[in-house]
Amino acid sequence: MGARHVWPQEGISRIPYWIYSDPEIYAREQERIFCGPSWNYVALEAELPRSGDFKRTFIGEKPVVVVRDQQGSINVVENRCAHRGVQFCQRHLGNAVEFMCPYHQWTYDLKGNLIGVPFRRGVKKQGGMPADFDPKNHGLRRLRVACRHGVIFASFASELEPLEEYFGPSMLALFDRVFDGRELRVLGYSRQLTPANWKLMFENIKDPYHASLLHVFLLSFGLFRADQPSKVQMDATGRHGALISWRGDQKKTEDNADMKSLIDNFKLQDATLLEPVREFPEYTVVMTTLWPNLIIQQQSNTLAMRQLITRGPAAFELAWTYFGYAADDEDMTRRRLRQANLMGPAGFVSIDDSEVMKFSQAGVGPYPEGAGVMEMGGRDWKDEQHMVTESVIRAFYAYYRQVMQI
């Protein structure tokens, strides 16, 4: 890394702006983070209930296909023909007995083995592959796969710890809180392209400080407020984090006098949007960020996986998969669908985030020499019993710097 890639001497209480726009940093992230020893979220098993069901998705920016084979196992393969690199699978979801690249019809089974090469023996004794061409050496590259309670993760790395160890005990407990083994039901998809660096999305969900200030909608209804009971938690490495809160009352107090956007008289005309029922023990909201590409959203009764897909240094796609449980009754499903109005590209709350992330990129992109100040709640990182902190972001960058060697 060149001289312009020197991290400020203050350490993780500063975030240099070149990390959000530099193409070299972006390339290094692809290599070390998304293709490195990390478990990347790719799909829910509920999306692939039958053999042959597949899902086309991405890890970082690399296209992959997740598929359930005839034996019922989940495989994840590169979406890139072993012959000339064509991205052979073009549908988001579907069912196949085999994959055939349209260009020269190389054909693969659902485990990625090459099973057909047209004209392999030539035509009329002319051409053909060399006699020692062995299809066994030319299958699709397979990724390592780990599934837990219906959630599928994959890794390009040949060696890495088991998924449960990778999460660590505290994150695993939060994961199992939502994914407790019950069968899931997919409620639908939402996708948005945000013109901002992918890390800004992670920072946003690791930042409880902004939520009680930016999101007037949330704080007007007491859904998330700086003065309500809350905490932040991380794993031992700092790479994963969770913002946890539970509902407080919503009177204006001295403590929240700084929250200028509080509107006292704001009432919904149709209150059905905000009629949650207690579903999970203890907490109302748990937003978990799992390194390097997943946000698990449990905001009251709305549940979603938000998958981060990088699209160059200055853009990312956020692919939302909303879900419930197969055993949900109609009322619960309706509740989940109503509360989904809070989130997504048109979410009462999420709109603020996607717009502000765009503003962030518009500020940090042209000023790579600048640095962000990250001192709320101290300069180190640790679990806290409140949300007036940027501890979780500092933890993320402590780990990021190790992985990136910057």
Binding site: V186, L187, L337
Partner: protein, 166 residues
């Protein structure tokens, strides 16, 4: 003859003219950002949804935007005006290819294509969203109003955020 009957007995040309007028008034209301008037195009018990085509085709119930009553539409307007933080923009909507499918038990079914063009600062105007309206209208208080309006959009990716109605 009450208004509902009047609409039911309109010949197809006159009905089409009524609808052309209605859709022009609807898009003008939104293009001119008179959002407070927008709920008035709907009856009290209405359904307004913006849905990605992939969910619609797979029968998945999730909407990107869901309003289940006129009050709900008004709440969206409050959010646009008072709570949401977003960059300045203008949006222009085009409705074309109006198809009148006909009356069924006092409900008029209409389909049309729509395009919403978005203009942001420092950027050229772009196609923000395009798709099909699948609407159900009823005669209410002397005019046709939406009982149901589904906006099924083609591009699965939303360019950042969807703030104004379609």
């Amino acid at each position: 003859m009450n208004t509902a009957e009047r609409y039911l007995t309109l010949n197809s040309r006159d009905l089409r003219l009524e609808l052309e007028e209605l859709y022009a008034a609807y898009t003008a209301c939104l293009d001119e950002e008179r959002f407070e008037e927008w709920p008035e195009f709907f009856v009290e018990q209405c359904l307004y949804k913006i849905v990605p085509r992939e969910n619609f085709e797979r029968g998945l119930p999730l909407a990107t935007w869901l309003c289940e009553s006129k009050g709900y539409l008004a709440d969206r307007v409050t959010a646009i005006r008072k709570t949401a933080v977003y960059a300045p923009r203008t949006m222009r909507r085009m409705v074309s290819g109006l198809r009148v499918l006909g009356w069924k038990e006092g409900v008029l079914e209409v389909r049309a294509n729509y395009v919403a063009l978005e203009t942001l600062q420092d950027e050229f105007t772009r196609v923000f969203n395009t798709g099909q309206y699948r609407d159900k209208l009823v005669a209410d208080g002397g005019r046709l109003k939406f009982k149901e309006k589904l906006c099924i959009f083609d591009s699965l990716l939303v360019p950042n955020s969807l703030i104004y109605p379609l």
